[in-house]
């Protein structure tokens, strides 16, 4: 069994393989942010952050921190050559207008029709949707990167019981157990982490799990 950090890195590493040359990508806060670390150097991916950065780069050395240059989590960041700073209206014009090729977000729950809940637990935790609702409605491809369960409770469900962030929005789910496509017929396991049996993955999934006839081991 992987520890939490290893699990998150494992998931992030797999998500990074989804990007194509030249993709414009927006990464959510938390686990999704890690994905940037695993993009192969030869693949040119442009990271956008909704606070107004295009070509977001790695965290700067401490002596180079500029308080005005941060990612969407207010963490010091850098801009790669060719980058640009933009305002929020243009930033969300890019997002809503379908110019973001891929967004990677975390989730509390994902339903088999692609519904997603990731912005509040009523009466308990209400952080708000931030830019997530716009990303889910505007990005060409939505990847959810998350642990397969929340302390053993399934997060892939028949339908979400938490308030939705968007309907029918998710295209692909990457967890430590496998890679699941959201299809017309529901969840389709296309890649499996060999550490888990199909039965184990089914037991940890709250909806029917179809198995791809072309199921392969999780590519890394």
């Amino acid at each position: 069994m992987m520890d939490k950090q290893a699990m998150q890195e494992f998931i992030a590493r797999r998500v990074a393989l989804e990007f194509k040359q030249g993709d414009l990508v927006n990464l959510g806060i938390g686990l999704p942010t890690l994905v940037a670390n695993f993009v192969p150097a030869e693949k040119e991916v442009i990271f956008q952050s909704e606070n107004g950065c295009i070509r977001l780069g790695p965290a700067p050395e401490p002596q180079n921190v500029d308080p005005c240059i941060t990612n969407a989590g207010a963490v010091p960041a850098s801009l790669l050559p060719g980058g640009a700073f933009i305002d929020s209206a243009m930033s969300f014009g890019i997002i809503r207008g379908g110019h973001v090729d891929v967004t990677v977000l975390g989730a509390l729950q994902v339903a088999e029709n692609g519904d997603i809940a990731n912005y509040m637990i009523p009466g308990k935790m209400v952080p708000g949707m931030g830019g997530a609702m716009d990303l889910l409605s505007g990005a060409k491809k939505v990847i959810v990167a998350m642990e397969h369960t929340a302390k053993g409770a399934p997060k892939l469900m028949k339908s979400c019981d938490l308030p939705l962030t968007a309907i029918k929005a998710v295209d692909l789910i990457v967890t430590e157990m496998g890679v699941i496509e959201v299809t017309e017929v529901g969840f389709l396991l296309v890649e499996r982490n060999p550490e888990y049996s199909i039965d184990e993955i089914r037991q940890n999934t709250g909806a029917e799990l179809h198995i791809s006839p072309n199921l392969i081991d999780m590519a890394l």
Binding site: G73, D87, A89, R96, M125, V126, S137
Partner: protein
């Protein structure tokens, strides 16, 4: 017209009960000196329109802690526990608005548009009670324009005319909030007192700026 005023004069423009828009994204690009002065003065019953409520010791988060708001309109409050506490205990009303919708509603308010037609939020709690408009068979949510009494903005540089320019990720909501407010006040890190900004370099024209406060270096 001299637009440059003191911090004291600036905060006097904000009245109890006002709706205030405040620029910034998790405190980045926020007029901290104006906020500190408002906290010190304790102007209450304000309605806040801001992307988020930053942190308890940063940006508008300090105004939350000082309980200056009766209502908060924002896209995210998760980085400030005090906002969540005030909301859950019913002390402060919170309206959550998707971030792209929030900036566009502000722009619509400032730019004379009747509202925003967006697919963002369809099928979610955000859509409740709102009008759906069909365009070519596709549903869009009608989100209404926002206006404010006062906008508190931040710029890297401002000239005496009020022309603003920015550094880094500080443009965020500062670019459009001035257009949607009756009175807008800019706190700039640098006030250009001799000459004016190159007109090709201006990001927000001074006609959207009523007052200027010298913010000085961070």
């Amino acid at each position: 017209m001299n637009k440059i005023i003191s911090l004291e004069e600036a905060v006097a423009k904000v009245k109890e009960g006002d709706t205030v828009m405040v620029g910034g994204f998790l405190g980045v690009g926020t007029p901290e000196k104006l906020i500190d002065a408002l906290v010190a003065k304790g102007t209450r019953d304000l309605t806040l329109i801001c992307n988020d409520t930053a942190f308890i010791n940063c940006g508008v988060g300090k105004m939350v802690v000082a309980k200056l708001f009766k209502k908060i309109i924002a896209s995210h409050i998760g980085t400030n526990k005090e906002t969540g506490r005030q909301m859950l205990e019913g002390e402060t009303e919170v309206e959550l608005v998707p971030q792209g919708t929030l900036i566009e509603r502000i722009r619509a308010g400032g730019f004379g548009l009747g509202g925003v037609l967006t697919r963002t939020g369809l099928g979610t709690e955000v859509a409740k009670g709102k009008q759906i408009v069909q365009v070519d068979g596709q549903d869009y949510l009608l989100e209404k324009p926002l206006h404010a009494d006062v906008a508190l903005l931040f710029a890297q540089k401002v000239d005496r005319e009020g022309n603003m320019s920015f550094h880094g990720a500080t443009r965020n909501f500062n670019v459009y909030m001035g257009s949607a407010a009756t009175t807008s006040i800019v706190e700039a890190r640098e006030v250009i007192r001799e000459g004016f900004m190159d007109p090709d370099q201006v990001v927000v024209p001074g006609i959207f700026v009523k007052y200027i406060v010298d913010g000085g270096a961070l």
